[in-house]
Every structure is written in structure tokens, then in C-alpha cells.
Symmetry: C2
Subunit: 167 residues, 2 copies
């Protein structure tokens, strides 16, 4: 039996399910990172991003609706690997001066994965002629970029705090 | 027994081992992606990046030397997850019109992970007062960014080719 050809629309749908899984995983991970963080500012950044992530999950549900498909998740090994490394940092650096720097790096790895996925999905939605989906994916992409920039700024102050402690 | 405090220098060393593992894994993955790619330009892009990656592995070895530590890899679950998704695309989209779009997306996820890691390592090398390491990490970060931009350009032409086939 000849297989049905898999087109860009199939790839878009598959990748949407992958990102839906990823966002839901991130939603479970952020409170743990907020709890683990030593710096008040870093805790606040994780709490803020958790709230944003809830909105991003809703946007994905809207994109599923545009596609006329149920919002379903498909296991995303990439986010499991990336958040697994974050969990390792929380364990290995618990109570250690470099914990927050490690949490920040783990969070930025997550943000970069998401930026890559949303950039791809946005481009595909454009090719597939779905302007409403483009707008939704673009909105989230901009939020992820802003979060990444905020984490970069925070990383500088966190590292400086460690340097001061070491004096 | 009180644990030795883990400082930014420990985190830098741990993350360097993680990226060293990732680059070596990518080096094994790129020839498979080049073989799988349907477009000649995409094949060429993967072959070119394989060559670049060899240089990036050497730069990491130089950073280990600056640290006075042996170049050792530490299993990086993130890259295993990310490349695992690429392998899934190769399997599920083999011979399908959307294969190249999927390979490109997988490669960009890898690039984004690396950009995040090299951005972090470069910042930490600066904080730790290692200007030679900063320069090495910066050189690789610029290469990864250029590769990602080239893949974005290629993604547009690959998707357009599929659209033409579908006419």
C-alpha cells in the first residue's frame, strides 16, 4: 500500500503537537525553578514567565482550532532532555553559589528551543496561508525573545552577586 | 562532611563538558542529515556545517587547555533529545515532500541550543576573566548564528519547491 504523502501541513500539525507538549512541560517546570532560585529577581522572572506560558498554551489551542484539529500533545524528547538538564542543575547545585547562574542557563536553553520552534511554525503558517495562526505564533515568539533578553540581563546581576560574595 | 562549594568556575567546566558531548554528537548526526536531505543545497549546507563543527570541537579543546583540564564529554540529555527528534523526522518523513522542511527545522533546533550554550559560556568566561576563552567561544557563537541564518534562507526555498511540486 502506498503511503499518503506527508506534506508541510502534516509537518506543521506534528510540530504543533510537539510544542504543545513542550509548553505544558515547561508549565510544570517553572514553579520548581521559581522555588529553587536564590535571587528574588530570578524567582519573580520565573513566576512571570509561568503566567506568560499559560497564555502561550491558550494561543496554541487557538492554532489547533484554526487547523480544525483537537489540541493534542505528542511527546517532545527535546524538551524532556533540556528540562532534564535543568533538574540536574537544581540537584547538583542545590545551596551552591552558582545555582542561580545554572538555573538561568537552563532557562535560556528552554527559551532558545522555543524560539526555534515558534520561528519555524510561524514561517510554515505563512507558507500554508494561515495569517491568524501567523499572528498568534508571532505574538508568542516575541514574548519568548523578550524573556530571553530579560534572562540575559538578570544573568549579569546574578553572576555579579556571586563575585561580591566571594570577596 | 560539608560539600565543597560549587562556584561559577565549576559550572563553566560542567557546561563545557556538556557542549563537548553535544558537538561530538552533532558531528555524528550531520552526515546522516546530509545523506537524508533531498535538496542539493541542503545537503551542501549540512556538509559545510560538519566541517565547521570539526573546528568548533577543536576550539572547545583549546578552552579545556586554558582551564588546565582534560577535554572530556559529559552526557548531554538535551542534545540527545533534540537530535532524537531529527532522527524521528528522517524516519517518519522519508521520501515525503516535507522531509527537507523537517530536517531544516531539526537543524535549527540544534543551532538554537548551541547558540544558547555558547552565549552562556562566553558570558561566564568573561566573568571568570578568561579573555582567550571568550574569543574562542565568541568565534563559534558567530558561526552558529551564521549557520542558523543560512538555514532560515534555505527554508524559504525548500518550502517553495514543495509548493511548486504541488501545483
Amino acid at each position: 500500500v502506498a503511503k499518503k504523502p506527508k506534506l508541510l501541513s502534516d509537518l506543521f500539525h506534528d510540530t504543533l503537537k510537539d510544542v504543545y507538549f513542550a509548553e505544558n512541560k515547561i508549565l510544570k517546570t517553572l514553579p520548581k525553578m521559581a522555588k529553587a532560585a536564590q535571587s528574588k529577581d530570578l524567582k519573580a522572572a520565573f513566576v512571570k514567565h509561568e503566567k506568560e506560558t499559560r497564555g502561550q498554551v491558550k494561543r496554541l489551542q487557538q492554532v489547533f482550532r484554526i487547523l480544525g484539529k483537537p489540541a493534542r500533545a505528542k511527546t517532545c524528547d527535546a524538551i524532556l532532555g533540556i528540562t532534564g538538564e535543568g533538574a540536574e542543575i537544581m540537584k547538583d547545585y542545590k545551596g551552591m553559589p552558582a545555582l542561580d547562574a545554572g538555573l538561568l542557563a537552563a532557562a535560556q536553553a528552554v527559551e532558545h528551543y522555543e524560539m526555534s520552534r515558534y520561528g519555524t511554525l510561524r514561517a510554515w503558517a505563512g507558507e500554508l496561508g494561515m495569517p491568524d495562526a501567523v499572528a498568534l505564533l508571532e505574538a508568542t515568539l516575541m514574548e519568548e525573545k523578550a524573556t530571553d533578553a530579560a534572562l540575559t540581563t538578570l544573568a549579569k546581576s546574578v553572576v555579579n552577586v556571586e563575585a561580591e560574595h566571594a570577596l
